[in-house]
Subunit: 248 residues, 2 copies
């Protein structure tokens, strides 16, 4: 059983306003909660089923409130249709200043709105070893439960930075190449890319905003040969990052 | 208004058993329905809002039953949370015999179960110009409404073939290279690939089944440098197809 007050608190964290108010967010499912408990995040409360507790006893010794609950309780408290493992409430990490990396690719998202897409992008960024991600202020919220779920644990290794993207880009070091995904860009297969500079991915429907596009020095596109009009932004990010990292 | 009988029929098509019984499936949303109406699929019934009717009058002159309805009716009849455009019922295409292509990449899925992943894979296959996709018999159903939605219209250009994958692969022409996505495979960035042979993608949790893996002549993997343990199968298919088509 979960107390009414706790249930109400956990459920409220599905809404951004309350996540900001409490500086907290929820993590659901076995893989994601295990990764959370192995990370440096501060954890407030963990709800687990008996079987999760038995399997991961060593992870449950720390200074948070632990509740043993049923799968039904977890489904009631969280956003997943079914969850027979665990749900945790963790504290957001305080945002901190960021300086431009010397020799690294910077990934920036311009108004990517779909939580599933953002989660996919975080997972693929983690696959290629990025540590940070830069998002325009009205992009999807990193701490949204659907984003967290789609990252499959990668949210623990990637730091989000919500920025005024225009101001952020204007602070780039001289001679930084600014790549932008655009249907009219250069064929990415014909470029010799290294993971340096900035790669900007745009909104699902509208692409990169005009004022941001004006800062792009090298528009790139993924050549298609079939009938599909476009690629999903998560898929396109994956393919472009692979093109940046393939020569290493 | 939609009659009770029609509503019941349309809703029943969200279940595979009834899709098979009626050899019909549903297509929802503006983009998908427009692509359906421009394709060679036989269409039974189309429900549209007034605004969709006004925008796409030229597509609505054909021999199907047309109903003008509200967005609320569409949401009630379909699987989408909101739909202010259209919903159509179309006939499945009869499956037909398939012969191995001479000089083309064959994409085969071994027990890919998630409809969203299958839809993503169909969209990316269409992007690279594939015409067919081969699926083990217990893979996700091509005509599932979530699959159709995730393809963003690409379901009209890709033909699914549900096969006994083992028997299918045993019929391959001599000297066919059989690529399989596997974490212990060769680094795909170090291979010079052409879109020829077969590429097999495995189940979300278990990868390629052992008996299928035994037929793989060239296991391949996408090198990661970060902390993510794996890639989503849709993402991995996108990156691998891009590697096969990059030299063209």
């Amino acid at each position: 059983m979960i107390s009414k007050g706790l249930l109400k608190y956990i459920r409220s964290l599905q809404i951004k306003k309350y996540r900001l108010l409490h500086q907290a967010f929820t993590v659901e499912g076995e893989k994601s909660v295990v990764e959370l408990l192995q990370s440096g995040f501060e954890v407030e409360t963990v709800l687990v089923t008996e079987s999760f507790q038995q399997k991961h006893t060593h992870l449950l010794q720390k200074g948070f409130t632990l509740h043993i609950v049923t799968a039904e309780d977890l489904a009631k408290a969280g956003s997943m249709e079914s969850n027979n493992a665990a749900l945790a409430v963790a504290k957001m990490r305080p945002s901190h200043a960021y300086s431009w990396p010397e020799n690294d690719l910077v990934l920036a998202l311009d108004e990517v709105r779909d939580p599933g897409n953002l989660g996919t992008i975080i997972r693929i960024a983690d696959w290629y070893g990025l540590k940070d991600i830069f998002l325009s202020e009205n992009s999807a919220d990193f701490y949204n439960q659907k984003v967290i779920a789609a990252t499959m644990g990668s949210f623990t290794r990637i730091t989000p930075h919500y920025v005024d993207l225009l101001q952020f880009l204007e602070k780039r070091p001289q001679n930084t190449q600014v790549y932008g995904a655009a249907l009219q860009g250069e064929n990415v297969h014909r470029l010799s890319l290294l993971p340096q500079g900035v790669l900007i991915m745009g909104n699902e429907a509208h692409g990169i905003r005009q004022e941001i596009m004006e800062l792009v020095t090298k528009p790139v596109h993924i050549p298609g040969r079939g009938g599909a009009e476009s690629l999903n932004v998560g898929t396109a990010t994956a393919i472009l990052l692979d093109n940046f990292y393939r020569s290493l």
